[in-house]
């Protein structure tokens, strides 16, 4: 309609209209992405800027004071005696989670990539924890992992006296990793399953004719062809592992000692329990930097490890 009116203008007016087709198209484009753009600006960029601003201040919520302290919080970060231990716990948690999650997800995907009767039931079963409420899931595991809880009760029927899972440094870390892996492995499994089903069957057929054993087929055909999915799942899992909070808060509260105090939980303690909002903000800037660097590094590695990238 508008276009028709524009065309109907008398030819005597020589100045070109402001709303050219190109401008109108770009306006439409901007309008289409506006909801996402506004969301990112309001919920990501502005908070990110604010966190950086807070990290330059000492903010006492109770006394309602907000004092500019420059780089003091960053100096405190360098001198924080607990930080190394916290970063160590974070690294162990992330590494354990990524390795266990990806290998289990891939194993499940390969096993469930069969044409068997009732295979959909198994796929649903393994995926179902993903849709369960995280806190409810963790609380139930908390009961199971107690010293006189379900898991040790089961072990006892086999004559094994189980450890005090959440109270020993090693088993506490293993427990939070396993609880988190079982919760989310279904998502990676589905992604791997989709990737596996996208691998052309002819390639396996050709390999079989050439006499390649099953492991070699997996190593030389499957892995390279699903490598983009491996990259995607590893990025999602690493970023997710660095943001783990609820499991720690519910299961161990960072203990025993500081053995399961990961960076996000430490940040929460500093900001919300000890009321050091400025220092908490500084820790979140550190977390942001770590996530950004890791994601960037993985993205750079894609050329080496991902088959399709050249």
């Amino acid at each position: 309609m508008a276009v028709a009116q524009e065309n109907a203008r008398p030819e005597g007016r020589s100045s070109s209209p402001f709303w050219t087709i190109a401008r109108r198209d770009s306006l439409a484009g901007f309008l289409f992405i506006a909801p996402q753009l506004i969301g990112i600006v309001v919920f990501v960029l502005i908070p990110l800027g604010l966190v950086f601003w807070y990290s330059l201040h000492e903010w006492n919520v109770l006394a309602n004071t907000f004092t500019y302290t420059g780089a003091q919080n960053y100096r405190m970060l360098m001198e924080d005696e607990n930080l190394l231990e916290v970063l160590g716990a974070t690294a162990i948690f992330s590494a354990g989670l990524v390795i266990f999650n990806l290998s289990l997800a891939l194993l499940l995907a390969v096993l469930l990539n069969q044409k068997l009767a009732g295979i959909a039931v198994f796929r649903t079963l393994f995926f179902s924890p993903v849709v369960v409420s995280l806190v409810a899931w963790t609380i139930v595991w908390g009961f199971l992992l107690q010293k006189n809880g379900g898991i040790n009760g089961m072990l006892l029927t086999f004559g094994i006296e189980g450890p005090n899972w959440l109270r020993e440094e090693t088993t506490a870390m293993i427990s939070v990793i396993v609880v988190q892996v079982f919760k989310n492995v279904g998502l990676n499994m589905i992604l791997f399953l989709a990737a596996l089903q996208g691998v052309p069957k002819e390639l396996y057929e050709a390999a079989r004719i050439d006499g390649a054993p099953a492991f070699k087929q997996f190593r030389r055909i499957t892995l390279p062809l699903i490598s983009p999915t491996i990259l995607l799942t590893s990025i999602i899992t690493i970023v997710g592992s660095l943001q783990v909070f609820a499991q720690i808060a519910v299961l161990t509260q960072g203990g025993p000692g500081l053995s399961t105090t990961v960076l996000v939980y430490y940040l929460y303690q500093q900001a919300f329990q000890f009321h050091f909002f400025g220092y908490g903000s500084t820790l979140s800037i550190l977390l942001f930097a770590i996530v950004a660097i890791l994601t960037f590094a993985q993205w750079q590695m894609r050329k080496r490890i991902v088959f399709y990238e050249s």
Binding site: L62, A63, Q146, P256, G257, T261, F272, Q273
Partner: protein, 423 residues
């Protein structure tokens, strides 16, 4: 003509709507909605609070009070998050442990003038021992509405079944000591049930162990709060005793074990008397309530406190303070004392307490409640408590294992919290 008529009609309509809108605004300005954060979601508690709010509304028709229940475990965190988000409540319950943080920070509105001005309030009858923690520079910043003594709830059925002496028998024989209490607990634990549970401790909230270590005269820091005393002999002795009770005698359920006394699964539990409401009505067991056992430093009592403060940042701080004055006046304090024992001297007599605590016997009220409130020390607290608590907790984890070196761990704790205490 038509234009003029339209103009007049519009002006008229604007005038009518305008005045209505202004009237609405005026009414809205008068209406005051107060919000109080609390850590109880108990229906009986809320019913009583709502009755008190309704009573206040009778004299102040424009004031409505709502109560917001926040989870007990994360209460202070949730409260400070609300404050940080610019959404502070008008009034808040405050734990005794974080009292110093709130009182000294200037976050609270001073209450003394409002309370003194309230008719028949009689603030003087609340002892200075009860108000000490809530006072700064002679001004009361939060009213200690709950002064609840810690005591030992006993399941006599389990103890008799295990063939051990009940606390009542031991008290009668003058043998109610920590050694004997742990002996009884160990006997019950051997029979397959839980021994003695220090409720809410869970090997995390170590401050609840004050109910035990006070028997040795131990405390985490000096009276003035400046010096760490965790490595001193009384504390080392007390914690060694507790460690032995947990790991050698198995009289106290160990880390990671959950045993609920009120479900009938343990011989004894140490908790505040307000928990009497948890005693089971069905499958009831023969229970008793006795004072804390005697330790090597003699008899002692411990009280937990909770205060109500008015947030300085609230728009209606004055009205909120008036509500606190109403909520905690002698008449309402009497009603509240069925759940939250009052520190008012006029309410500390057996007749009144018997009426408000029908579950307790006269003897229990006299020996546990009245003498507990009169002589009890308040749970430890400190400025920056959350940080100190966390630091001690993460180090004490080393004590909660069978082969622990208690004195060395305590030395380490003092090394770490020492600088924080001096701040």
């Amino acid at each position: 003509m038509l234009y003029q008529r339209t103009l007049k009609t519009t002006a008229c309509a604007l005038a009518i709507f305008g005045s209505l809108a202004l009237g609405g605004t005026a009414e809205a300005q008068d209406a005051v909605n107060l919000r109080m954060t609390i850590w109880s979601a108990n229906e009986a508690h809320l019913k009583l609070f709502n009755e008190i709010a309704a009573g206040f509304k009778r004299d102040h028709p424009n004031v409505s009070v709502t109560y917001e229940s926040l989870p007990f475990e994360t209460y202070t965190t949730a409260l400070t998050t609300q404050i940080a988000g610019g959404n502070a409540p008008d009034m808040a319950w405050i734990f005794e442990t974080s009292a110093y943080d709130f009182v000294k920070s200037g976050a609270l509105y001073p209450l003394t003038d409002t309370l003194k001005a309230a008719e028949g309030y009689n603030l003087e009858e609340v002892g200075t021992g009860a108000t000490e923690r809530w006072t700064e520079d002679g001004k009361l910043y939060a009213y200690p509405f709950s002064t609840s003594p810690f005591a030992v709830f006993v399941n006599n059925d389990l103890i008799k079944a295990a063939g051990a002496k009940t606390p009542a028998e031991m008290i009668a024989a003058g043998e109610w000591t920590w050694d004997n209490a742990i002996g009884t607990a160990a006997a019950v634990a051997k029979s397959g049930k839980g021994g003695l549970v220090v409720r809410d401790f869970n090997y995390q909230a170590w401050q609840y162990l004050t109910s035990v270590w006070s028997g040795w005269g131990a405390s985490p820091w000096s009276e003035d709060g400046k010096t760490c005393t965790m490595a001193d002999k009384p504390m080392a002795d007390a914690l060694t005793f507790i460690h032995d009770a947990v790991f050698t005698k198995k009289a106290i359920p160990g880390p990671g074990e959950t045993v609920d006394f009120f479900a009938g699964n343990a011989a004894m539990t140490i908790t505040q008397i307000s928990r009497a409401s948890l005693l089971p009505k069905e499958k009831a067991f023969s229970w008793d309530l006795v004072p804390l056992p005697k330790g090597s430093a003699g008899e002692y009592a411990l009280i937990g406190q909770a205060g109500i403060g008015v947030m300085q940042s609230g728009k209606n701080a004055e009205t909120a303070a008036e509500f606190v004055a109403y909520m905690t006046n002698p008449e309402n304090s009497a009603k509240l004392s069925q759940f939250f024992p009052s520190a008012r001297k006029s309410l500390l007599n057996a007749d009144i307490l018997k009426k408000t605590n029908p579950l307790l016997s006269q003897e229990q009220i006299e020996k546990v409640v009245i003498s507990g409130i009169a002589t009890g020390k308040v749970m430890p607290g400190h400025t920056g408590f959350a940080q100190i608590q966390q630091m001690v907790r993460s180090n004490l984890d080393a004590v909660w294992r069978p082969e622990a070196d208690v004195p060395a761990t305590l030395q380490k704790i003092c090394g770490q919290i020492g600088p924080l205490l001096k701040r």
